[in-house]
C-alpha cells in the first residue's frame, strides 16, 4: 500500500499569499466607496455606514488570515509515475495525475504575479475535472517543473 501523505512534499512561495492579499485589498475598494456614500447620504440612518464598515473589516481580516493558511496548504509531490497536488482548508483535495495522462502543461502569470515574481503551473488531461493547479511557484522552479513534467509525459504513452 502506498502512503500518499509521506514523501518530499514541496510547498509554494509565500509571495502567493502577498499576491492574493493585494487582490483582496483591491476587492475592498468598492466596499470603501459604498461606505462613504452611505455616510454622506442624509436619508440613510447613521448606524448603517459604521456597521457595513465593521462587517467588511471583520470579513477582510478573516480572509487575510485564511489566505495565509490556504497558501500554506498548497503542496505538490513528484513521484516516479505520477504527480500529486494537494490544496484547500475547508474543502481539501488531493489530485493524482499519472504522467502518461498529461496532455499539456500550462505556465501562466498575470500582471500582479509577474510583478511579484510568481507563476502558476496547471496540468491538463483529457478530463475537464482534473483541476491540478500549482500556483505560486517562482519562475525558475515553474520552468523546471514544467520541463520535468513534459519529459515525464513524453516518455509515456499519452492516454486517449
Amino acid at each position: 500500500m502506498t502512503q500518499l501523505d509521506e514523501g518530499d512534499w514541496q510547498s509554494v512561495s509565500t509571495k502567493l499569499a502577498l499576491a492574493r492579499r493585494i487582490t483582496l485589498l483591491f476587492a475592498l475598494v468598492p466596499v470603501l466607496v459604498v461606505v462613504c456614500v452611505l455616510w454622506w447620504w442624509e436619508e440613510v440612518p447613521d448606524f448603517v455606514a459604521p456597521t457595513v464598515a465593521v462587517v467588511a473589516v471583520v470579513i477582510g481580516i478573516w480572509a487575510w488570515w485564511i489566505i495565509g493558511r490556504r497558501v500554506r496548504s498548497f503542496g505538490y509531490l513528484e513521484r516516479s509515475e505520477d504527480l500529486l497536488v494537494r490544496s484547500g482548508i475547508l474543502f481539501q483535495r488531493l489530485v493524482i495525475v499519472p504522467y502518461g495522462r498529461m496532455q499539456l502543461v500550462d505556465v501562466t502569470a498575470g500582471p500582479l504575479d509577474r510583478a511579484l515574481g510568481i507563476t502558476s503551473v496547471q496540468l491538463h488531461t483529457a478530463a475537464a475535472t482534473t483541476d491540478a493547479v500549482i500556483p505560486g511557484l517562482t519562475p525558475e522552479i515553474a520552468a523546471q517543473v514544467r520541463d520535468r513534467l513534459a519529459l515525464a509525459g513524453e516518455s509515456r504513452n499519452p492516454g486517449v
Binding site: 475547508l90 481539501q92 483535495r93 493524482i96 495522462r101 488531461t125
Partner: protein, 436 residues
C-alpha cells in the same frame, strides 16, 4: 457521385431543400405580419401571401445555390478530407481522418420528403469541431459515410466502391409503449405530474383558480418534454457494426449515431425509482471528444451520449458487454460507505459504494435515481480525493476517478477518509501502470 475523384458537390437540389425547410418560418412571419396590420383574408391577400412566401423561399434558394456552387469536398493526396465552403468568407477545412470520431447520417423531416440526408462528421478537438454537409441523397450519404470510416480505419478503399447497405445485426429495439411509459415514469416527470395533481386538487377544493396557471406550467412542461423525447427517441434501435454500436432513432428526424467501442471512456447505468418494478435502466456513456462538460446534469437531452433510453437490465448489460467485453459485475469487490455517512447524506447513504476489479472501477450513488458508473481504469485521466468541512467532521472523504467530459461522473462519495485515500492511491497506481 463518389465513383470519380473529387472535388464533389452536395446534391444540386439542396438549395431547393433548404428553401422548402424555410417555408414554415415565412409562413409564420406572414401570418403574424398580416394579423398585426389587421388584414382581412380574401383571395387577393392569400395570393399576395403565397407570392411573398414563394419570393422569400426563392431568395433562400438563390442564396443557397451560390453556397452550393462554392461548397466542395474531396480527399486530398495526404488522405485528409477537405471541405471548402463560403461565399464572402471562404472557409477551408482539412479533416485528418485519424481524428474522426463519428460520422452520422441525419434525415430532417423536410429532407426526408426529398429522400435526402445530411451528414455530420465529428472530429476530436474542442470548439466547433463538427462538419456538416447537406444535402446528399440517402445512398450517397451512406456511401460517403462508409468511405470516410473505411479510410479512417486505414484501409484503402477500392475506388469503385458501390453503395452497399451496412451489414448489421440488430441487438435491441425499444418498443414505443415502453418508451412512452418509461418517459412518464421518469423521476422528474412523475414528480412534476404529481405536483400538478396536488395543485389541481387544492385549486378545486379552495376554488382558488389562480393556482391553475402554475398547474399549466408544472403539468405542461413535463408533457412537452415527454412528447419531445418520445418523438426524438422513437424506434430506438441498437445494432452491432464492425466499429462499435450503431444507433438509429427518431420519428420526424431520423438520427444515426455510431458509438465506437474503442472510444467509450465510461458507462453509467441509471435506475430511476419508478422504473425498478419493471427492472428498466437507462445507459449513458462518455465518448472521447463527443460530450461536453455541461452535459453533466441529469438532463437527458444529450442524444450523443445515450446508449439506450430504456432497456431491461439484461438487455442493457448485454449492450454494455459489447463495449466493455471484460466487465463483470459479479467479480466486483464492493465496499460501502460507513453507517455514519447518513449524517452527511441521509437519503442516499445506503446506496453509496465503490467497487473494483483488476481493470475496472465502479462507483454507485443515488437513492431515487440509482446510478452505477463504471470506468476501465486504463481510461482514467486522474484520481482525486476530496474532503469537505462536514465530511472531515465525520472522518469521511470522497474518491473521484476523472473521465473525459460527458454525462458520466465516477464519484465514490462519503467513504471512510483513510480508506478513501488508500483507494485513491491504489487506483492511481493501477491507472499509471496501464499503458494503453
Amino acid at each position: 457521385m463518389l465513383n470519380e475523384d473529387g472535388p464533389w458537390r452536395v446534391n444540386p437540389i439542396s438549395p431547393l431543400v433548404h428553401a422548402a425547410r424555410s417555408v414554415p418560418v415565412w409562413l409564420g412571419l406572414v401570418f403574424v405580419g398580416a394579423s398585426a396590420v389587421g388584414y382581412v383574408w380574401g383571395p387577393l391577400t392569400i395570393l399576395l401571401s403565397v407570392f411573398i412566401i414563394v419570393t422569400l423561399a426563392g431568395i433562400v434558394a438563390l442564396f443557397q445555390f451560390v453556397n452550393w456552387q462554392r461548397l466542395t469536398f474531396w480527399f486530398d493526396d495526404q488522405g485528409d478530407f477537405r471541405v471548402d465552403s463560403g461565399v464572402l468568407t471562404r472557409q477551408q477545412r482539412r479533416i485528418q481522418l485519424s481524428r474522426v470520431q463519428a460520422v452520422d447520417v441525419v434525415q430532417p423531416l423536410v429532407a426526408r420528403l426529398f429522400s435526402m440526408a445530411e451528414i455530420t462528421i465529428e472530429v476530436a478537438g474542442t470548439g466547433e469541431s463538427r462538419v456538416r454537409l447537406s444535402f446528399l441523397t440517402l445512398n450517397e450519404a451512406h456511401l460517403l459515410r462508409e468511405t470516410i470510416l473505411t479510410r479512417a480505419r486505414g484501409a484503402a478503399p477500392d475506388g469503385s466502391t458501390v453503395a452497399r447497405p451496412d451489414e448489421v445485426t440488430v441487438l435491441s429495439r425499444v418498443p414505443w409503449p415502453t418508451l412512452a411509459v418509461s418517459l412518464l415514469l421518469r423521476t422528474s416527470t412523475a414528480g412534476l405530474l404529481i405536483l400538478t395533481a396536488v395543485i389541481l386538487a387544492i385549486a378545486i377544493r379552495r376554488e382558488g383558480w389562480s393556482g391553475l396557471g402554475l398547474a399549466l406550467i408544472t403539468g405542461g412542461v413535463p408533457i412537452l418534454t415527454v412528447f419531445a423525447e418520445f418523438i426524438r427517441y422513437y424506434g430506438f434501435t441498437v445494432s452491432e457494426a464492425e466499429d462499435g454500436l450503431r444507433l438509429r432513432f427518431g420519428l420526424l428526424k431520423t438520427e444515426h449515431r455510431t458509438i465506437p467501442a474503442g472510444r467509450v471512456q465510461a458507462i453509467e447505468i441509471v435506475e430511476p425509482l419508478l422504473w425498478r418494478r419493471k427492472d428498466w435502466v437507462r445507459v449513458r456513456v462518455n465518448i472521447a471528444g463527443v460530450g461536453k462538460a455541461s452535459d453533466s446534469s441529469s438532463s437527458s437531452n444529450g442524444g450523443e451520449t445515450l446508449l439506450t433510453p430504456v432497456a431491461t437490465r439484461m438487455e442493457a448489460l448485454a449492450l454494455v458487454s459489447r463495449l466493455m467485453p471484460s466487465l463483470n459485475f459479479e467479480s466486483m469487490e464492493w465496499h460501502s460507505a460507513p453507517r455514519r455517512a447518513w449524517r452527511r447524506s441521509p437519503v442516499q447513504y445506503p446506496m453509496l459504494a465503490i467497487g473494483w476489479t483488476d481493470s475496472f472501477f465502479t462507483a454507485r450513488r443515488g437513492r431515487i435515481n440509482r446510478r452505477t458508473a463504471v470506468i476501465p481504469i486504463a481510461r482514467a485521466q486522474s484520481v482525486r480525493w476530496t474532503q469537505g468541512a462536514w465530511e472531515r467532521a465525520l472522518n469521511l472523504a470522497s474518491v473521484h476517478v476523472d473521465s473525459t467530459p460527458g454525462p458520466v461522473r465516477i464519484s465514490g462519495l462519503h467513504l471512510d477518509a483513510e480508506f478513501a485515500k488508500t483507494v485513491a492511491g491504489e487506483q492511481a497506481e493501477r491507472c499509471a501502470a496501464q499503458v494503453r
